[in-house]
Symmetry: C2
Subunit: 418 residues, 2 copies
């Protein structure tokens, strides 16, 4: 096997641990200089491959690459850019393969969610047809936790830990204040289609907190919800509500949509938390506070789950090892062996079975009343938030996050218009 | 000196370290059984004294009291309940002193902000006049950092650390996405009158992040702000905005007030972040995300500043020691000795000089353009966020926060109507 270069790119919304996967890819590749030459990274994800903006990771020190393991966000830049279907825009796929050919790239490591798995699969297929076969490996990443076959997706465990801990802390605060002040706290979390992240907020009922979860999977029933809030406040003195940004009515309208308008009367984007809080105020008169975690949740490397960081790294490493073993059109997966003690191992899935399949939360993970999580869900979630993995901090009290040099290599091809 | 009991109460909005002060009070009192009998805590703050709902902290184990040091919120409950002036409601003050007398309470430790310093002072004065002199000591606490004389207030350093770290992490995220997606991130932080917390967000410019801060102290100039956002995005590709909930126009109108309305046309409470984000969208067309940290920031014990935790404990301890030394109507303070290395010592201030005085941010802590912090501000802030003080976590990945028994003692007096 001759030496080929590798191309690595980050795709879609970033997470607090996607750089740990990058670290796993680059450190493992560096251990095999006889087979893998340089690892190039796409500047701003796959766009960097299309525009031939390739970052030479060989210029980054071993310390900086190791530091990626503790640095949130996408160190090379990511993008929201979905390649069209082969029929609609074959030109983009062909360009990718031209760029790979021009830079002797034989390995393609694509780190992302469902869309990137699909792209990865197509590149593998087309490269063979074009007579320049590229080994394409998809490294899973998504806070949405919606990829099939793998037990869970890197990025999710850390968001889940952040939401569970933050909801617990804020609930302690509300409990302190409820006698004369705030009685209801509403926390908005990510998850437009699936309630995985909201489910993590449900864990705090194990810590004596009266909590109601609003999932996108459960049609919002206003009167049932108001009655549930009333019962919690009457029994416990306060109530915490964790609401998924995708919470919706039976007709598919998002709660957030019918909510706030700005001073010009335009519908305001985002913000289901204030809608829910104001609804409670209106119906029950309780004083409320609300928070919207937004990017804070997926960037919170300071509170990452140790198992998540470890798995993100392991999947990057496994991706390179699978490529070195001659595998193609594949995604390394997390296979759960046992819950207690938590054990897992690396498995794999063919990309043909990953692309365009969305894994929803099992119906039996939600309690019958629709506002809580089941024991099965708890057993699934706790291992994913277990362990703490702290970044180092500087003397001033700030985390030591790495910023790479990100030097581009010389271009060889003509300019490509996106 | 005969043995007297002590009364401790938590006041106003709670913090992630107010329980560390409670720990300092109780552990220190327990070391002096010859002078201090039982420490009673007010259930829900000063209300517990008025209604004679006194928690017997002697029933709490040494381990649980030690655990308070790492537990956010107010472990005995707090309240937003300001005693009226002596002239308006002398009856409340007299009741306090009756309750103290009934339970042989000779020490009053009140843990709060400006209002509670005032109450504490009045109780000291009136108790003497009523022939039952109580030694009243105020333990400072407020995330608003607005008490005079003391260099800083426990609770603030941890919020500042949380906001600085969270703003940094979210900015890394936005930088990753800016090529094709989010270009502006708006983070709303606490601070209705003073920009101390917002200032902490300004620290991230030391970490190569283009950041603009909107302080309550600086009149909001829409065109100047929009021009500044445009310049940041054009030069850096993205921009982070940290906005204080109290940001306002020159006429004193809060930005949040003229903002969103709900579907019924009612003004929506809170939420300056979406107002600022939508303004930018409207004027510049940039894609945005926004977050509202709300209670998450002041409850975030998981990311507390070590110096803050240490000072909160030390002030509780010092309060007891001052009382034992016969002092009265006093507040222990933090006196800064040096910035680098950071050194501080305990000082004190007479309550007559603390009550009803609000410390604002010095004008020279804000840059001339009004959107950033000066070097003097940085030198002030960094020591306060220095060091990490993590709680322990259980095997499931959740922090071990203490919940006390909070058993009430028998009442001796007639019921008191609030």
């Amino acid at each position: 096997m001759s030496t080929k270069n590798a191309f690595y790119a980050q795709s879609g919304g970033v997470t607090s641990v996607i750089n740990a996967s990058a670290c796993g890819v680059i450190e493992t590749a560096r251990q095999h200089p006889d087979k893998i030459g340089t690892v190039f990274a796409g500047r701003n994800g796959i766009i960097g491959a299309l525009t031939e903006e390739l970052i030479d990771t060989a210029n980054e020190s071993a310390d900086d690459i190791a530091g990626l393991k503790n640095t949130p966000s996408g160190a090379f830049g990511s993008c929201r850019f979905k390649l069209k279907s082969l029929e609609e825009n074959r030109r983009e796929y062909e360009r990718l393969i031209e760029v790979f050919k021009a830079h002797n790239i034989g390995y393609f490591f694509y780190n992302g969610g469902g869309d990137s798995a699909d792209t990865c699969y197509k590149v593998s297929q087309l490269s063979e047809k074009m007579g320049y076969p590229v080994q394409a490996v998809h490294i899973p990443k998504t806070v949405d936790n919606d990829l099939p076959i793998t037990d869970n997706c890197p990025g999710f465990g850390s968001v889940a830990k952040y939401i569970a801990v933050s909801a617990l802390e804020a609930s302690f605060d509300v409990r302190s204040m409820a006698k004369t002040s705030t009685k209801v706290f509403v926390l908005e979390v990510m998850g437009r289609h699936a309630g995985w992240i909201a489910a993590a907020g449900g864990l705090i009922s194990d810590y004596d907190i009266p909590v109601l979860v609003l999932f996108p999977e459960v049609d919002f029933d206003q009167s049932g919800f108001i009655a549930a809030v009333k019962a919690k406040v009457e029994n416990h003195g306060f109530c915490t509500i964790v609401v998924s940004e995708g919470a919706q009515y039976a007709d598919g309208t998002f709660l957030a949509e019918q909510g706030a308008r700005d001073s010009f009367g335009h519908a305001q984007l985002g913000g289901v938390a204030p809608v829910v809080a104001n609804l409670i105020k209106q119906e029950l008169g309780y004083k409320f506070h609300w928070a919207v975690a937004d990017y804070l949740q997926r960037a919170a490397r300071h509170l990452a789950s140790a198992s998540d960081v470890e798995q993100a790294y392991a999947l990057g490493k496994a991706g390179v090892e699978m490529a070195l073993a001659g595998q193609n059109a594949i995604m390394p997966t997390i296979d759960r062996v046992s819950n207690s003690p938590y054990e897992w191992k690396i498995g794999s899935a063919p990309l043909s079975e990953v692309a365009n399949v969305e894994k929803m939360m099992p119906a039996d993970f939600i309690t019958e009343d629709g506002f809580g999580i089941s024991d099965a869900c708890r057993e699934y979630l706790y291992p994913l938030i277990s362990g703490e993995s702290y970044p180092d901090y500087d003397d001033r009290g700030m985390p030591k996050y790495v910023v790479l040099k990100n030097q581009l290599i010389d271009q060889k091809l003509e300019t490509f218009e996106l």
